[in-house]
């Protein structure tokens, strides 16, 4: 197992390196290069030349990459001229909020999705199953902005139970519970649908295995077969799937934040895009890429810990 974990960690590090290379290339994709990006479109060529000399942008690309990476490792992600703050201080403020949103939504999606999947597998082809499957299809097909809108219309406009915007202001977000419900629901529902579908088919695949028949014939109670054996075996690929799905959840968070005006890094990124604030855009892209690699790695490590077969590779 140690060998497997070591390999996975090395792989993750290489991917992280790859992410930094991609972000670095994006920086240089910008028309006019980073100088124009940071100084603005109307900078004259002397200012650009001076900027290039100072930041070593006239050196060969690999050297530049090395300098940039060096800055990165010291925590310097650049400076946002539009917001007049360093990018890392902005991230420190906005990242925890998105982490709250994404973390809770993912947890909800796993717990409720897996639960529903088990229910559907056991009651397959019952009316319950059909209703849940149809709902799953609909939720899975709804773009987050439409789903959020529908939820707002139903719960805020018509019923008036919940406020239509996300949390705001200086009060800690945990305390603004009613404001958190709709954003989290909007983010979680499509993934609840996705995970429940997957869990259902994974459970079904396991239910037809021979070991279930053997356990029955040995007289093991149905409930124990279900939870101790079938559920655990079906859960394993779900964990890998979750790791795989994290980029989508973060992407969905961007739309949810835009819709509900939830001040997280998604909204930060979107505003930066509209203002062409490239340092912020690059910083957020980097952090988000790193976060998803970390999420994937965590899922794989969890898988290795739970699956006994991996221990022998």
């Amino acid at each position: 197992m140690i060998a497997y974990l070591a390999r996975r960690i090395v792989q993750a590090l290489i991917v992280v390196l790859g992410v930094t290379i991609i972000v670095f290339l994006l920086l240089h994709l910008l028309p006019g290069g980073p100088a124009r990006a940071i100084l603005g479109e109307r900078a004259n060529k002397f200012a650009i030349a001076a900027f290039n000399r100072e930041y070593g942008l006239d050196k060969p690309i690999p050297v530049q990459y090395w300098f940039w990476l060096d800055h990165l490792l010291h925590g310097d992600l650049g400076f946002s001229l539009a917001l007049n703050q360093s990018v890392d201080s902005l991230l420190l403020i906005f990242l925890p909020r998105t982490a709250l949103l994404v973390g809770t939504a993912t947890l909800l999606a796993i717990v409720i999705g897996a639960g529903l999947g088990v229910l559907q597998a056991v009651r397959r082809n019952d009316p319950d199953d059909y209703v849940l499957t149809s709902l799953a299809f609909v939720f899975y097909a709804m773009p987050p902005f439409f789903l959020g809108l529908v939820l707002i219309i139903v719960f805020s406009v018509i019923l008036g139970w919940l406020p239509p915007t996300g949390p705001s202001g200086s009060a800690p977000f945990f305390s603004q519970f009613t404001n958190l419900v709709l954003p989290m629901a909007t983010l979680a529902l499509p993934f609840i649908a996705f995970f429940s579908r997957y869990m259902r088919s994974a459970m079904l695949e396991n239910l037809i295995q021979d070991y279930v028949r053997t356990a029955h014939s040995k007289g093991v109670p149905s409930g124990r077969i279900l939870f101790r054996h079938v559920f655990r075996n079906a859960l394993l690929p779900l964990i890998t799937l979750v790791g795989f799905t994290i980029p989508w959840i973060v992407g969905g968070a961007l739309i949810v934040e835009a819709l509900f005006n939830y001040p997280g890094i998604g909204l930060l990124f979107w505003n930066a895009c509209e203002q062409q604030d490239y340092p912020v855009m690059l910083g957020v892209t980097l952090i988000v890429g790193l976060a998803t690699v970390l999420g994937s790695l965590t899922a794989d490590i969890l898988y290795a810990v739970i699956d006994p077969r991996i221990r022998y590779t």
Binding site: V15, G18, A141, L149, L204, S222, V230, C273, T285
Partner: protein, 304 residues
């Protein structure tokens, strides 16, 4: 509530059904199972209807989609404007058709581009093997780690989007999954006996790839391509919603929804529900179709 396997009766019928079709060719049997699946047929129907609605509709229901008419903004559905007017006076139904054109065009074209590129990339990686394969796959992993929407927004904010550019951008980001899929398929096919036989008979790599691998990976590719169209349509809608879609007077369903959102509390439901329903319908249709092809493939594989 029993914890039992599907009854033996179910399994036998499936096997019999598979066997009855076993003599037909691969495409035929997929088609047959596909047609039996009512949801899939419904999906095809929806797609055909939407395509006609968006492309043939404007020929029947004439509206002016270029000139703004402030005098009639925000009107509810009436006989003159079947779905009312939007916030600058365009007829909403006509707008729906126009928006659908962009969505469908970009959806299909981007999926085609992504699938083609991904298939070639994945097959090449599987064939090259060794360190080339590793490097190619690490590139895929790194690109995959960054959420698509962030990359899309980034690219869209640099380049002013037109329909071809949207197709290019979405296609260039969606090729990752077909690439991974095809590489996995190619790797597993490589070890099959019939490939070894072809090699023993002196067949070269081109022949193996073209005449054996691609037809066998075809099913997986088709399933993925169908889901790609659904994802591309969602991606275009998301981009347009966030304000980085095609510039007016062209429009897109996502953009229409974004405009309609401003009027949620004013109660202008005709700006919100029809558009949203269209998006959901067409994505659900493609998901049904993709699921059906996937199930059809599994039936075919069951009696192999």
């Amino acid at each position: 509530m029993l914890v039992t396997a599907p009854s033996p009766g179910e399994q036998e019928t499936a096997a019999e059904a598979g066997q009855a079709q076993g003599s037909a060719g691969p495409f035929r049997s997929i088609l047959e199972v596909f047609v039996e699946n009512k949801l899939a047929v419904a999906g095809v129907g929806i797609v055909v209807f939407m395509t006609l609605f968006c492309f043939v509709g404007p020929l029947i229901y004439h509206t002016n989609q270029t000139a703004v008419n402030i005098g009639i903004v925000g009107q509810p559905p009436s006989l003159r404007h079947l779905l009312g007017t939007d916030n600058v006076g365009y007829d909403e139904l006509g707008r729906l058709m126009l928006g659908g054109q962009t969505s469908l065009e970009v959806g299909f074209a981007a999926a085609l581009l992504a699938t083609t590129f991904g298939v070639v990339y994945g097959a090449t990686a599987a064939f090259a093997g060794g360190w080339i394969d590793s490097v190619m796959m690490r590139i895929v992993d790194a690109l995959f780690a960054i959420p698509v929407l962030f990359l899309l927004l980034f690219l869209a904010s640099i380049i002013t989007p037109t329909v071809p550019i949207l197709i290019l951008v979405i296609g260039l980001i969606s090729w990752l999954i077909p690439a991974r899929l095809l590489r996995a398929e190619a790797l597993s096919l490589r070890t099959r006996d019939y490939i070894l036989a072809v090699r023993a008979m002196g067949g070269g790599p081109t022949r193996i790839v073209l005449r054996h691998m691609i037809p066998n990976a075809f099913g997986v590719v088709v399933v993925n391509a169908t889901f790609q169209v659904a994802d591309a349509i969602l991606a275009v809608a998301s981009l347009s919603y966030l304000g980085l879609g095609v510039p007016p007077p062209a429009t897109n369903w996502g953009q229409m929804l974004s405009d309609g959102t401003q009027y949620t509390f004013a109660g202008f439901w005709w700006l919100i529900w029809p558009t949203g329903t269209c998006i959901v319908l067409i994505v659900v249709a493609f998901n049904f179709m993709g699921d059906a092809v996937r199930d059809a493939l599994e039936v075919r594989l069951q009696h192999r």
